[in-house]
Symmetry: C2
Subunit: 350 residues, 2 copies
């Protein structure tokens, strides 16, 4: 902490993403003058050590945002809806990791590698997209820029940490029960607030978030709608099937996409992604090099591999995209937005 810099608040400081936000701020040497760690009344009073200094978690209230420059929210949609505008009213810029404002036409939805310039249109709140959307658009954007983009069909392999720390604990406890042949009762996944809960250890659950009337889940519709908004491609054809698998951290995605141009080779796509911001190309089948969630944990980047041309469709390609859902999918993208705001002069030291 120095005397220069910003007063930063983290709302939801005790959650899986909040914890990562704090660690990322430290790791990235974010210019912090003062740090407020906020949470629900339930977690208030807990103590956390950040960079050698002890902090007491405070209950998030409208007054908590007095003097705050940048507020990173990750405490659920209703907290963002209630307190986000209160923070803005008090002069803070809000970077919100919930879905509360993502599709609001007055709120930019930003992945810095893709649409950093949308930050200029902000009205106090900037939305951080859904984790599964972020890593996909980081990989797709350089391709769109060069060859156009017409269609995307994605099937996800999502980690349980996307459903919070309790889901990770459930995965590990269940796995242990199954290995030692003990009974267990699923309580968290697929969706804590939904009616039925199912085994996730050694299983795959094709439900993330609740279902909409059209048969898609909210998670799937988030991927569909957010991708179009972030990429400024309202006509893009996107469809998604979102599946939870027994992985703690790291989302994987099998992505089929069609570009606008004919005659492009897989090597041209690989060359593009080799130099793309935020992307690490891991694509060498001969040496069994491809991205895997176990290798991406703790990394800020989006890992792409298995790039190959469709055997029938000249403009069709397949790729495999992996990233740490708590970092690029959440905490890192939020901190990165805050860094962009500073660089673009959209937040100024008071």
């Amino acid at each position: 902490m120095s005397k220069k810099g910003f007063h930063v608040a983290v709302v939801g400081a005790t959650g899986a993403v909040g914890q990562q936000m704090i660690q990322t701020l430290v790791k990235e040497n974010f210019p912090i003058k003062q740090l407020s760690l906020l949470s629900s009344a339930r977690s208030a009073g807990k103590k956390i050590v950040v960079n050698g200094q002890e902090y007491t978690i405070q209950e998030a209230k409208p007054e908590s945002f007095e003097g705050v420059d940048i507020a990173l929210f990750s405490a659920g949609g209703s907290v963002s809806k209630d307190l986000g505008p209160e923070a803005v009213k008090r002069g803070a810029i809000v970077v919100d990791n919930t879905s509360a404002f993502r599709m609001d036409t007055n709120t930019p939805l930003v992945v810095p590698e893709v649409n950093e310039n949308d930050l200029h249109q902000h009205n106090g709140i900037i939305a951080n997209p859904n984790c599964s959307t972020i890593q996909m658009v980081v990989a797709l954007e350089p391709i769109r820029q060069k060859f156009g983009l017409k269609k995307v069909i994605v099937s996800t392999y999502q980690a349980v940490s996307g459903a919070g720390a309790a889901a990770v604990q459930e995965l590990h406890e269940q796995a242990q029960s199954i290995l030692t042949n003990e009974p267990f009762e699923p309580k968290v996944l697929p969706v804590k607030s939904d009616q039925s809960h199912y085994q996730i250890a050694f299983n795959a659950i094709p439900q993330i978030d609740k279902f909409e009337e059209n048969g898609f889940t909210f998670e799937e519709m988030k991927m569909i709608n957010e991708t179009k908004k972030i990429m400024h491609l309202p006509e893009l054809q996107v469809s998604a099937t979102c599946v939870r698998i027994p992985v703690a951290v790291g989302h994987s995605e099998s992505v089929y996409f069609e570009i606008e141009e004919n005659g492009v080779s897989a090597n041209e796509i690989k060359a593009l992604l080799m130099d793309a911001p935020g992307v690490i190309l891991q694509d060498d089948p001969e040496n069994q090099l491809y991205p895997m969630p176990a290798n991406c944990v703790g990394e800020n980047d989006v890992f792409v591999g298995r790039i190959r041309k469709d055997l029938d469709e000249d403009r069709g390609f397949h790729m495999w995209v992996v990233s740490d859902n708590l970092l690029k999918g959440a905490a890192w993208n939020s901190v990165q937005i805050a860094e962009s705001l500073i660089r673009l002069g959209l937040v100024i030291e008071k």
Copy 2:
């Protein structure tokens, strides 16, 4: 065992699929007069109890097939190539669960619900398709019959038992090591005979079988080529991404398909699959009903759910297909082929 019936040989009797073949023969009350359990020299001499009777595993040799009516092979491609023709020479019909003869133009590749009549063209050997192919074509065939089929894009979530019993043991031991923070060394997956081995517990590996020069794996090319052959659709556009996930038994598939007809609803597809042979429809999002691998273990059927129409492509649909890869994907389909052979009069009691 009765005096009537057939002399059946199981080759690879100690393997994961061989064991399921024996259990399936018993469970299905297959008319067996005599049962020969064969394996490599390494496993010969072991004793197995089948239906209360003890059998000693014999080493598979050309002479082992004297008097055999039906030989179910599942001991690896090279064993099938060596001993399959020897069995045929001695009057047996071979149902081969390896990839040795699948794409051979003189060998029918059969999923009874789809192309039982191809059995009439057999020349002694009938090939059982790859596990991931079988469950997909069972779900697609009724749709093709009614509405035609133009394109398929599949991403798989495959169980480790497809790589044999050692892979299942590796999954469980690794999971235990990770849960108790002990070191471990991957030795089996993704492909025992390939150079590098990777963690499968709490991970996802986008490699099943080795890579071909076109960037697809052999597993992916099997799904592509076998689907066209079984469905008699050489022009069908098929592409596949095959991924191993930490599940012991039960393959899942996210399948996008395009039919030939316009204006078809998801409910029409559901109605078709409700009455389709070998299919159990589990599709009620409101009540969180959809197929999951943990629920399909030990079942012969193919479970289909999450059927929904694509939001952009009128002829496009998505579905989620799950089946026990050791049963419908291997043992049950092989025994079912044997049952079809009997019913069609293509094998006769001696």
